[in-house]
């Protein structure tokens, strides 16, 4: 009944049909162009891609083409899509245009982060090749295997010692430097390691820890062993002695991250109202008391943020361990075990389970971020 009614040719429907035809006619040329332009864009980009994937041109030329093609390509895509959308009737254009703006970002984030969460979750219940369901086997491995327990212990060491020393030292330096004339110099020196890759830092510290062995006439070339020898001790292969080698690796993280903590905390300390400190001093408070009773409570929020960031960093630590010991000698960490499982043992199931464990570890932070964001923007 309903169907018949819809299909019945009524004058009203005819009218709409005619209108559509009309619109088609008037924009036929435009549509042709609208297909032609994206097609040309696509061909140009595709040719660039082919050139880049197979080229035997000199490397420098490839790099330049890569840069122009990559950056220009993205700009071009936006231009063309926007131009296409603007060709649509105004109402459709208005509805679609926001998606031209946010669409690519949302799509890429979905592909690279959001959907992989689900895919990894599924893979974590399947076997090494992803061919069969294995239930909770991978999680049993992740939570009970001695290898994994070792990584948990080491990550806990990284988290506790790495974070507390980075934040503590950063706070100390920020506080002390604030009252000196050479503040900028001190802060720059501590901050600069942030520009260095973990791999580079690995080389720097590997050289500090290097060990030549004992014997007559051998002069240690590693700084640490030279100092130990000069003080009358015996040189040691520092990176091979569990569990202490973990601490020698953690020192590298502290060296890299203290600058970060310092910079953020320093600006927070500068935000403490001078009158507050002045008043405390007039009341006879010592510098130490002023620090613990006024500055610390005042910068509590920042302190928490910095600590959280460094905790996340320490949970995901990978490069340092990979370069320094490869996770051997009892220094393995979760992210390195993930790497080994996925790319050395080709066990996608275990690797995914480990990745999910990492995700679970940062979940409280995710929840907290969302909560504070929603509070911040009530009127979003």
């Amino acid at each position: 009944m309903n169907l018949a009614k819809t299909n019945a040719p009524s004058p009203n429907n005819n009218n709409v049909f005619a209108k559509i035809i009309d619109w088609f006619g008037s924009t036929l040329g435009k549509i042709f162009v609208s297909i032609f332009v994206p097609a040309v864009t696509f061909i140009v980009l595709w040719q660039g891609y082919l050139f880049l994937s197979k080229a035997n041109a000199p490397q420098i030329l490839q790099v330049i083409v890569a840069i122009v093609w990559g950056v220009g390509g993205v700009a071009l895509l936006y231009l063309v899509t926007n131009w296409l959308v603007m060709k649509l009737p105004p109402k459709a254009a208005r509805t679609l245009q926001p998606f031209v703006f946010v669409g690519p970002a949302v799509a890429i984030m979905a592909w690279f982060l959001a959907i992989p969460v689900v895919r990894s979750l599924i893979a974590s219940f399947r076997n090494a090749l992803g061919t069969e369901w294995v239930g909770l086997d991978n999680y049993v491995y992740a939570f009970t295997n001695p290898r994994m327990l070792e990584t948990f212990r080491n990550n806990a060491l990284w988290m506790v010692f790495g974070t507390s020393f980075s934040v503590g030292l950063g706070l100390l330096i920020a506080f002390l430097a604030d009252r000196t004339k050479a503040e900028v110099v001190y802060k720059s020196i501590i901050f600069t390691p942030m520009a260095i890759s973990f791999v580079g830092a690995g080389v720097i510290w590997k050289f500090v820890y290097t060990y030549k062995g004992t014997g007559v006439g051998i002069q240690e070339i590693g700084l640490l062993n030279a100092i130990v020898t000069a003080l009358g001790g015996t040189p040691q292969p520092w990176l091979n002695i569990p569990p202490w080698n973990n601490f020698f690796l953690i020192i590298i993280m502290i060296w890299l991250q203290t600058g970060y903590a310092m910079v953020i905390l320093s600006s927070a300390i500068k935000g403490v109202p001078a009158e507050l400190l002045e008043a405390a001093r007039i009341d006879g408070a010592t510098e130490t008391r002023a620090f613990f009773n006024i500055i610390i409570p005042y910068i509590k929020g920042t302190l928490l943020t910095v600590t959280t960031t460094i905790v996340i960093f320490s949970l995901k630590t990978f490069d340092i361990v990979r370069v320094m010991t490869g996770g051997n000698y009892g220094t393995n960490v979760i992210a390195n075990e993930f790497y080994l499982q996925s790319f050395t043992y080709n066990d996608a199931g275990k690797a995914s389970a480990i990745a999910i464990v990492l995700l679970l570890l940062v979940t409280p932070v995710i929840v907290n971020n969302i909560r504070s964001f929603n509070e911040q923007r009530k009127g979003f």
Binding site: Y49, V63, I67, G70, V74, Y78, M86, P98, F101, V102, A105, V106, I108, M109, W111, F112, L113, A114, P116, S120, A123, L176, R179, T180, S188, I190, T192, A195, I196, S197, F198, V199, G200, V203, I204, W205, F207, V208, I221, L223, W255, Y260, I264, E287, T305, T308, T309, I312, F318, D319, R322, G326, A335, Y339, S342, L359, V362, I366, N369, I370
Partner: protein, 366 residues
């Protein structure tokens, strides 16, 4: 009273500076160590610590004495008025004239090295050869300490440097462009699902990228993107977008509403407003994120290792490989480490202010 306070203040200042200088020295010495080492000849590096390039007191060889065949090397040996066993000579014996005699090699050499403890000035035999060695990809021939001719292929860090540029520059600009569009959309355009999408972005800020590596690598193998620049740009775009969008959103949404409204009244389209108004106004925020992302990409190891591998290797991969393959060749590793550090250091020191601003705005990067 006032004077007493002044003195306390001065002592306090002294200790403050003392502690800070101490920490700064500890911070810098490891870097100075590899910087100096990278300029030393490889034989020297393995023989003596890098600190010996500075003036110091050292036993300098002044003479060599070969003991006659009549001396029994298995019994007590007398030389220069001292009598000692071989092992003691091997460790070195202080002679009465202030010199020191040390046995050279094993018993059969019968050679004593006579040395004197004296001041040695700055080392002058520094070289650029290590850099030449790591930078080129050509075959290098040189003579080692024993006079053997050694031929080997350079480590082509120069090529890796270019690859790192090819990864980092588009890998910085592409996500910024995409994020700026998205941030504008989220901040000023109305569309269904805006709130949910943005909440998801906030959630993605700290998601560990490990979660994405296996699935994305599968996709890449299927699409033929593995090992290509396009693949790694996309990956870095994906991993960098949440932070970029979040930072730029915070900035763009705080721009004055009247500004945009007057532009709309003048009949400007969203696209024109974005390119002619929003982008120029957002330069500080864009710059902050750009530096952040650039340093992050240049220094990245994991993503490059997974998606580029040894084809088109970046500097971090090249350096890490060197550490794995030539773990004792400090002349190569130190020079390579410095090559990998030089560009980020320049960018960082020149644009520190922007970098700090970026750090402040987004201290929750995943």
């Amino acid at each position: 009273m006032a004077k007493g306070q002044k003195t306390t203040k001065r002592t306090q200042n002294f200790w403050t500076n003392f502690v800070l200088i101490f920490i700064c020295v500890v911070w810098m010495v490891p870097v100075i160590g590899i910087l100096i080492t990278s300029f030393r000849p490889s034989e020297d590096i393995f023989k003596t610590g890098w600190w010996t390039v500075f003036p110091h007191k050292e036993d300098v060889e002044i003479d060599r004495v070969v003991l006659p065949e009549t001396v029994d090397v298995n019994g007590p040996i007398t030389y220069g008025g001292k009598t000692a066993m071989f092992e003691e000579w091997q460790r070195g014996v202080q002679l009465d004239d202030g010199t020191k005699a040390t046995w050279y090699g094993n018993k059969r050499t019968r050679t004593l090295i006579i040395s004197q403890n004296q001041w040695v000035g700055f080392a002058t035999n520094l070289t650029l050869k290590n850099y030449q060695d790591v930078l080129t990809g050509k075959t290098i021939t040189y003579k080692d300490a024993q006079g053997n001719t050694i031929t080997r292929v350079g480590n082509n860090l120069g090529g890796a440097f270019l690859n790192s540029l090819a990864v980092s520059i588009p890998g910085t600009i592409i996500p910024i462009l995409i994020a700026a569009f998205a941030a504008f959309g989220f901040a000023w355009l109305e569309f269904p699902g805006r709130n949910i999408f943005f909440t998801i972005i906030v959630a993605l800020l700290v998601v560990p990228l490990q979660i994405a590596l296996v699935p994305i690598l599968q996709d890449y193998v299927g699409l033929g993107l593995n090992g290509t620049f396009l693949g790694i740009w996309l990956a870095h775009t994906g991993f960098g977008l949440p932070l970029a969008t979040y930072l730029l959103f915070n900035y763009i949404s705080s721009l004055p509403r009247e500004l945009l409204e007057s532009a709309y009244i003048d009949g400007a389209s969203n696209f024109t407003i974005f390119t002619n108004l929003i982008l120029p106004l957002s330069v500080p925020a864009l710059a902050s994120f750009a530096i952040f992302q650039f340093l992050w990409l240049w220094n990245d190891y994991l993503v490059a290792l997974v998606f580029l591998g040894e084809k088109n290797q970046t500097v971090t991969i090249a350096v890490a490989r060197l550490v794995g393959e030539k773990g004792q060749d400090w002349h190569l590793m130190t020079a390579a480490a410095f090559v990998s550090m030089i560009l980020p250091l320049i960018v960082f020191l020149a644009l520190q202010r922007y970098f700090v601003r970026g750090l402040m705005a987004g201290s929750v990067k995943g």
